[in-house]
């Protein structure tokens, strides 16, 4: 098991190196001088231009800049944001909980609805319900979520004002410390009346929007996985033994059907983060997706560089964990080719 883990870990190293190289090169290729582009109509005197380029290390030869960059990365120094002068890592860690919270809730939404729906569809295969579910889930993962978000905002908030459309909590009535950065947890910890409920209300729309595509995918995957399992011999045996259908389906079949679904969930981290970028933009959700987009328009190169590295690290990390879990569950993978 340990060997497997180490082997998988070792395989991520070249990916990291390539990532460092690519982000460095890409950012350097973005047109525009990082100092000049942030100057307004006043312009900037040549002396000050030279001074600030020197400060950013831009007057060093490119290979020196790259080595400095790699060296700092290995010490977990992702640089300092050009706009706020704060460490990029600190900014990322401040904003990441918001994105995690949104993504987790979106995934919960997708799983809580998708798995049972898909399982039922598999059991009632060919029925109207099955066809209906397949159609709905198809629409789910075909949905342009930026449009879906706008539609929901239009109906829910503009027309009827049932749910809030931006932010994480009502700022007028609630003010509490945020020790964890997760609004749901912090609101409970604060003990303020109604804060938790308000946080939930703010999460509903963004989580639905972000979770729509995973919902479609998970429902379908569960269905096809269940269908495979239901036709297996051991299920027929269980049925023949006289076990109640509920036990057969709920306990035996579902458990085995869920395996591929679990791996799919893990692999969805990447697409969840991509979706988070769009969702955070629409709902003014203060997470890393929104921060990355801002960094581009602000030409904040260190933030963009560091942000892409950190986000990719998270994806690689989660994929590694999923691989390990899958390897633990399924020994064939561990020892196989």
């Amino acid at each position: 098991m340990l060997v497997y883990f180490l082997r998988r870990l070792a395989l991520t190293v070249p990916t990291f190196i390539a990532l460092m190289f690519v982000t460095f090169v890409a950012i350097r290729l973005v047109p525009g001088d990082p100092v000049e582009v942030r100057v307004g109509e006043h312009g900037i005197s040549p002396e000050r231009l030279v001074y600030f380029r020197h400060q950013l290390g831009l007057d060093l030869p490119v290979w020196r800049q790259f080595l400095d960059y790699c060296w700092k990365l290995l010490h977990a120094d992702f640089g300092v944001s050009l706009s706020t002068n704060q460490k990029v890592l600190t900014e990322f860690l401040t904003l990441f909980p918001a994105t995690i919270e949104l993504s987790v809730c979106a995934m919960l939404f997708a799983v809580a609805i998708g798995v049972p729906a898909g399982a039922v569809a598999a059991v009632k295969r060919g029925s109207v319900y099955d066809q209906g579910l397949m159609t709905v889930s198809l629409f789910g993962y075909s949905m342009p979520i930026f449009w879906w978000g706008l539609l929901l905002i239009m109906f829910v908030s503009v027309q009827h004002e049932w749910l809030p459309v931006s932010g994480r909590i009502d700022l007028i009535n609630y003010y509490f410390d945020q020790p964890t950065g997760f609004m749901l947890i912090d609101s409970l910890l604060s003990g303020e009346d109604g804060a938790f409920l308000d946080a939930v209300r703010h999460l509903v729309l963004p989580a639905i929007v972000l979770g729509t595509v995973p919902l479609g995918v998970i429902a379908r995957m569960t269905r096809s996985s269940m269908l495979e399992v239901l036709s297996e011999d051991y299920v027929r045996t269980a049925r023949a033994k006289g076990l109640s259908p509920f036990r057969v389906i709920g306990v035996h079949a579902l458990r085995n059907a869920l395996l591929p679904v679990v791996t799919v969930i893990g692999l969805m981290v990447s697409s969840l983060l991509a979706g988070a970028v769009l969702t955070e933009t629409i709902f003014s959700w203060p997470g890393v997706g929104h921060w990355l987009i801002e960094s581009i328009s602000r030409r904040d190169y260190p933030a963009l560089q560091g942000g892409v590295m950190l986000v990719s690290t998270v994806v690689i990390g989660v994929n590694l964990v999923v691989d390990l879990v899958y390897g633990a569950i399924n020994p064939r993978i561990r020892h196989g080719r």
Binding site: V37, N85, T94, L95, V165, F283
Partner: protein
Amino acid sequence: MKSLVFASLGLAALLAGMPAATAKTLVYCSEGSPENFTPALNTTGTSFDAARPVYDRLTEFKRGTTEVIPGLAESWDIADGGKTITFHLRKGVKFHGVKDFTPTRDFNSDDVLFSINRQWKEDNPYNKVSGGKYDYFNDMDMPASIDSVTKTDDYTVVLKLKEPNTPILANFAMDFMAIGSAEYADFLLKKGTPEQFDQTPVGTGPFYFVAYQKDSVIRFKKNPDHNFGEKALVDDLVFAITPDATARYAKLKAGECHINGYPRPADVAEMEKDASLTVVHEPGLNIAYWAFNMTKPPFDKLEVRQALSMAIDRDAIIKDVYLGAGVKAKTLIPPTMWSFDDKIVDIPYDPEKAKATLAAAGVKTPLDIDLWYQPVQRPYNPNGKRIGEMMQADLAKIGVNAKLVTFEWGEYRKRLQNAESDTGQMGWTGDNGDPDNFFFLLGCPDGKPAGNNIPKWCNAEFNDLLAKARSISDQAERAKLYARMQEIEHDEQPELLIAHSIVYEATRANVEGYKQSPLGTHAFQGVDVK
């Protein structure tokens, strides 16, 4: 017994039903996150707005105007032909306390010296902190203008200038001259965390800083010790950071924020119809222009410049690109600024006359020129590309083929200032409300065009008046000089003045006392929520 129980229950119910005396909160829907809380380090309105509630300055702009009034300096004397300004500082002004730090003394000259020297002197311990970039201090030519700043006692600061410069008093009212606490600075330096100075601000202002949650919310509370000028009328001030304009409107409509400083022009019509909202607007302190490079023929000929100017339909541009949120410009400064000369007759839109004038100047059509357009949105130019396209179409009608060119913003500005274009779009946003801050754009110090002088136009009379207006302090006299300068500029037509953008702001109808600032800043003292 029963009646007593009922009575107490009734009383309890009554009390429960009564609205509790809650703190009054004013919520401002902010369009972005601040970079830090020290205005000297910033250039964006977003960052300035976020820090302003906490600070005062030596002089202030009377809220809603560009008139300079006393601030932390109660009064000042100008001597020596305008080269020495002595500030008499207000007594009994207290700084805020934050976690760990409680001020032990009132505001005095040391704080003024610190705030200036941090930006000016490279040997100041705070000069390099948090990036060390003091753009406005340098751009407003403070290092070039100031000879020395000294204190004669705890409440008197003497400023010696190299040349007489009346507008500098307006500079002291600008955000970058916010006065910070020298004591707080020393405290943090000893603690080893000077960067905190720019993250947790301490000032003398009408509000004090409570907390900032990145990209989410900034909180301030009323400073009860603020004893001069306008005071905070609400107990809590909250900046709800909402980058999406649609979300800002939704929040304003729902009453989740009280003031929206940047509504979308497309939403304004609907907002104006809404009885629960109040919409205010005025021309911003800005100008968008199309400059002709007078070092390149045929733009050195006045008739050619006039012809090209007459060919452009500016009304259509204002309608389509500014969506009506603009006013056609006939002089450099907007109508709201003092010394604006309304007597100037604007250049007409007359394609026929333009064609004739062009021919009379001896220019053969088709004439090929390049037209540089701004690649990014600016406060005075919502869409440089579209304006460029409309101009291109207008110019084609008089036989001029304009090729559209652009570069990345930094590159664009640099090349334009290096006179590389034939014609180019540019603009300007006023910093301090003084006409000099606009007219200097066309100046020629020492006979050479200033960097910002895009047309590279040098007129001796214009320059003399520019220098003279800087040296006298009587506003009426200065206005006369600026009026004459506007005439000269109009007659010579070095650039086509396109428009001043109109700035809209929206508040809830129950917000009282909010005044729109011509400088585009948002201030919340003196604002109440009913």
